[in-house]
Amino acid sequence: MATIEMDGLVKRYGNDTVVDGVDLSVDDGELLVLLGPSGCGKTTTLRMVAGLEQITDGELRFDGVVVNHEPPDRRSVGMVFQNYALYPHMTVRGNLSFGLQSRRPRGSRRSARAEERDLVQEIARLLELEHVLDHRPKELSGGQRQRVALGRALVRRPQVFLLDEPLSNLDANLRERMRMELSRLHEQLPITTIYVTHDQSEALTLADRIVVMHEGRVRQVASPREIYDAPAEAFIAEFIGSPGMNLWTLPWIEKDRDDITLGDEIRLPRRPDPAIHRDGQPITLGIRPEHLEIAGEPDHTSIGLSCRVELVEDLGSHVLVHGTLGSHDGQRVVAKLDAASVVDRGARLRLRAAPERVHAFDALSGSRLGTFAGSARVAVTA
């Protein structure tokens, strides 16, 4: 096992900066997930850790030792590629033992070879590959190939385990099963792991900590719960969750100390946290679709937002309602409602959310200001 520290890692291709000053540390035995949209620099960061890409600037340390110029074979790194990259001309046994053979000193004793055979057998047993050891990759199913790729990376007992979107080539059911297997595997073999994905459900279920990347930079490093509950930026709020958080930029109108409204529709009966206070400035409001609920009769905290239901998607376990906020054309709202909800297309719908579920972001920078916890219940009528 090892700790990994990235200190201002930069990767440039000509004038194009792909990774722009990544500062990260991965604890011994931790599973860190790099999450972000395509082209955000997560795979390039992983490849720099593996030694497959030269580091343009910054420092990479394994257990405190700088490894910037160490070739890949001297970093004790096991890696699983997106397309598995199995040697197609070798059997599963050949694939698993190639790394051990490559590192075996010349003229090693027979006992060393027997040890290699035992290691291959052991990893095959762990990953349930014993019955396909003499098969070639093209004779295997997607899940088996994935397990061979994992086994090949693990059989050498690497100090660092790198996974580059390892489940993206699998169908939905298999992906879910393999996700559980990966989780089980990490419990059994707690190797320091960096896992790259653009799939938030993988990130949220597997990670000890998630690193959200965007445009080559780290935007937030936190536990899955914190990333979900307290996204550091409006971009993260929208990226995490399915569907992502509803975001509306509304003007802050403060007539007097006790009469604050956001746009024409949302009244804040109590003064919110000073950090959120934006007198005369616009503010971005965010509510997750699953935190919206149908409001009952209007009460004194409810302020009507006139809008209309445009589409209702019944997904079995829940209903997705898509609508548009009335007086703010183009500002859309999505609500994830209980499966029993009856909503008609074209109708008006009143929704509400608990104040602690209503997030505020700076309208210009997108950075988080806080929630409306402490103020009265916020109601939105859609």
Binding site: N83, Y87, F98, S102
Partner: protein
């Protein structure tokens, strides 16, 4: 015993209902009908088939035919002689010598071609940046598009024992100068050098295409697995390149057995001395030409060509048999 036709479907399986039983009155379309249905396809195929038939299949069949006859271009009489032409052929020391020369030429050319072309392709892939890659690839390929006869004449000058560039290089390196095309020992190697220079470009391009098909991730995984460059090449790149190598070997074998133009030009063909000195560069293909068009023994030349064809066919079959065991197709 009679079987009631109406009972047949009940007795038979589903298969019988679908394929075995025919509806009365429904007949298979005739040849004319099928020709009519596929008239456009046959029409489009016709020019290619006609050209191949006139210039390839008919002469090839006629060559087989005259190899069993005594036949001359100007003589009207053709006499069936059975295997006499073949008997005469194998009784001729020059023919056996030409077979050996062709075999020697091929045996040297195949490994030289594969090693040099693969080496150059690896260097080009590793050392040349993508931007300049096109220039280098063009430079390597350019000799292949030049006319063999023209470049062979230049190589005759290069191999001139008195003022040629080859001997100048040798003497500059303090090595003894060589008689090249004037000696029985060095004439064929000189032809080989010319042929390699002329043909390598094509094989380099083929190997570059093969190397481009080796996934980069496999090389990277092997590096992460701790394999050094030599092991990565031997265990990963080379096996995945085996279909390309096999194709190059087949191509080089066929081209070597058919080598003619460069030998004819470099060894004094226009002056009547091709294949010299002392038949040291007389390959089978050259002997076929000389027998037919210089000595006017067409039947004998046809028999030689047939033997050459059988040899190339056998070699290709052997290579194919070997490839089934050694070549890995993804």
């Amino acid at each position: 015993m009679t079987i009631d036709a109406t009972a047949a479907p009940a007795l038979g399986s589903h298969r019988g209902a679908g394929r075995g039983l025919r509806h009365p009155g429904r007949r298979r379309p005739g040849v004319l009908r099928r020709l009519k249905d596929h008239a456009v396809a046959y029409g489009l195929l016709f020019p290619a088939v006609a050209v191949f038939t006139v210039f390839f299949y008919v002469p090839a069949a006629y060559l087989v035919y005259i190899s069993f006859f005594h036949w001359g271009v100007l003589s009207s009489a053709t006499t069936f002689v059975g295997l006499e032409n073949f008997r005469r052929l194998f009784a001729q020391p020059l023919f056996l010598h030409s077979l050996w020369t062709s075999a020697y030429y091929t045996l040297v050319m195949i490994p030289a071609t594969v090693l040099l072309a693969l080496g150059i392709a690896l260097v080009l892939r590793e050392a040349v940046t993508a931007r300049r890659g096109g220039i280098w690839r063009s430079a390597v390929f350019l000799p292949h598009v030049t006319p063999v006869v023209a470049t062979s004449i230049i190589w005759v000058w290069i191999f001139n024992p008195q003022f040629g560039l080859a001997n100048f290089v040798l003497t500059s390196l303090h090595l003894p100068s060589v008689g090249w095309l004037g000696t029985t020992h060095w004439a064929l190697p000189a032809v080989m050098i010319d042929t390699l220079w002329h043909s390598l470009g094509l094989y380099v391009i083929i190997f570059l295409a093969g190397l481009a098909n080796v996934p980069r991730e496999l090389v990277e995984v092997a590096q992460l697995d701790g394999a050094k460059r030599r092991r990565v090449f031997r265990r990963i790149i080379w096996p995945l390149l085996s279909p390309t190598t096999f194709f190059v070997v087949i191509l080089a074998t066929v081209n070597s057995w058919q080598a003619f133009s460069q030998i004819y030009t470099m060894t004094g063909g226009p002056h009547g001395g091709a294949g010299g000195p002392a038949f040291s560069t007389t390959t089978d293909a050259l002997l076929v030409y000389q027998t037919a068009f210089v000595y006017d023994h067409f039947s004998l030349a046809a028999a030689m060509a047939l033997v050459l064809f059988v040899i190339i066919l056998l070699l290709t079959l052997v290579q194919k048999w070997i490839s089934n065991r050694l070549v890995f197709y993804r």
